[in-house]
Symmetry: C3
Subunit: 266 residues, 3 copies
Amino acid sequence: MQITAQSVWEDVQQIRTSSPLIHNITNYVVMELTANGLLAIGASPVMAHAPEEVQEMTAMANSLVLNIGTLSGRWVESMKLALRAANALNIPVIFDPVGVGATTYRTNTAKVLLQHGKLAAIRGNASEITALSGEESKTKGVDSAFDTKECFNQAKRLALQQNATIWMSGKTDFVTDGHRVALIENGDSLMAAVTGMGCLATAVSAAFLAVNPDPFLGCAHAAVAMGVAGEMSRESANGPSSFKTVFIDHLHNLALCEIERRIRVQ
Amino acid sequence: MQITAQSVWEDVQQIRTSSPLIHNITNYVVMELTANGLLAIGASPVMAHAPEEVQEMTAMANSLVLNIGTLSGRWVESMKLALRAANALNIPVIFDPVGVGATTYRTNTAKVLLQHGKLAAIRGNASEITALSGEESKTKGVDSAFDTKECFNQAKRLALQQNATIWMSGKTDFVTDGHRVALIENGDSLMAAVTGMGCLATAVSAAFLAVNPDPFLGCAHAAVAMGVAGEMSRESANGPSSFKTVFIDHLHNLALCEIERRIRVQ
Amino acid sequence: MQITAQSVWEDVQQIRTSSPLIHNITNYVVMELTANGLLAIGASPVMAHAPEEVQEMTAMANSLVLNIGTLSGRWVESMKLALRAANALNIPVIFDPVGVGATTYRTNTAKVLLQHGKLAAIRGNASEITALSGEESKTKGVDSAFDTKECFNQAKRLALQQNATIWMSGKTDFVTDGHRVALIENGDSLMAAVTGMGCLATAVSAAFLAVNPDPFLGCAHAAVAMGVAGEMSRESANGPSSFKTVFIDHLHNLALCEIERRIRVQ
């Protein structure tokens, strides 16, 4: 199947119609942006992290986001519970390995989660994907020290290892399930100046995974949607904060004609 | 006493003059919006959740907000300590039962808090109020699956059971203390597309409860103020995120003439 | 050395060029604003609080922010670990004693941190600085009950006691290392209507401390940069929320000509 404006649009419409419930166990910095972004694309976000309720909440959800941006021991335990609950019910899980490679604790926690259950998809920057693939990585806190183009092989290897779709985001977005590959050239440089845009990409892809049974297509469609909204936002933004505001508005108002006009996928 | 533009305005002026201190034990997603909304209406917000200090912080406050949106065991213990401290000093407490009915843990925690102390008011959506009243409810994560009009009886029953004011928010806002009833038709549909607008309504009503000794009037006035700001915001918003920005600005600039022009209360 | 538009500008340029990594252990309310403000000034923010990783994260950072706005026992333990790690590597630490004087727990925690390691700088409002200096203070939750002009002596005394730079912010910003003094008259009253602007000032000064070896100059330069952005923002803001948006944009776009035109330092 091809990734076209029409195939992106069909998922967007299905998200708007069915309003899937997305359960997020995510970091403190991006919770508000993530919730607003999910509402904007048409999904219904919920944040819950207590071990007493994560399994029950996940069981109701249409997909699950695990994000280790501000991880701690108790939250990781809840992530493990939620991951198992999702796997038992075939609810897709997408993992955001924020800052993996920066500290031993993050790297080890990510490995533990990879071994603990099945992930439908992983979204990270080039440094994070490289670190997860087992290669030597460089990172600056939570920002990438690599360009995605240097790391295609690591992403493919990780996809095959994990039997999961990898969305490596950056100037060029690279989506692969190890067999198929999509390069998405949409987006804008101001996205990197807004905290949590990567985490939002992960959450938005969870909305696409909730309506599209193929995680490769779901991630590629999410990358196009985010990128198109980013390009539209640049045109009326004066800086990163007005960009953020306009971005969420454009995600809410996303129309087929804009996707058709702007989509750049190889 | 009647709910009029003038009676709303008197509370707003008193909040601006006295700048009541509002102690919030609330969820991670809405903390920033809540703090900014309270500053905008003229109150002074504080967030503190450590068991070592919640009693002392509550004792200084003019009202207390308890919100279980991202609850966990330790936070619930702090809520109980703060609730007792508030009751001992006759400081009004308003409770936001986010997601009650969605998981057993949320429902049980809400019941524990109801039994642990006296609440002046409870604000929730139709699903949450129905679940709290002891009836079978439906919920989708933290979003309501009911319209408020279907649930007036449950709200009244809960008000009488708890001897508290219930503000059930939705397209039509319904405020009752079990004896008196107010229906507020102000507001805008974009409010539901911004995360935390319900939680902000709860916090704003805490500011009104800090200056108005009658929780029924305080909640009704808060519902009018929120609804009027919502209507004004729609006129210059392009989507949910610019709506959020304009909303806080309008709350800050709220004027009697706009309340007079727009108030719709039965 | 003089504090001039040119000396401020040199630090700004160095931040933009070197993009220092700022490790923040800060409060939930301001995490997003802090991260976006640091990105806007040109720095690279990271938030991490788990005891398993704070030492490793601090060791990579160019400066460390400790902020007790929503403190709890576990977070304080992590702050102590990070403080020691920073001291061992001569990484500058800036402390934001949010709400000190409001509760015994906050006051005691601040004292413990002061004794636990060396702070390069402390930024707080007049009530907080007065409370830290050991004098009787008044506070309203996390807002100051004093004007900075009443508290110059307390700030100087604290600077000498701690061998640290004190930035006491308010209508007039007062920066001192106990020997040198700078009064900065830039800024706008709307800054006090946005939650977390004080915390953001602390984080932004951490970016300046990462590139300027003299904490007194770093804090004074940060105060000018924040104040100039505040004045520029007032001109296009309709209220506190649009002010916040424009403020981050202006921090991102800050130019020498605007600093030259507006700087007011004694």
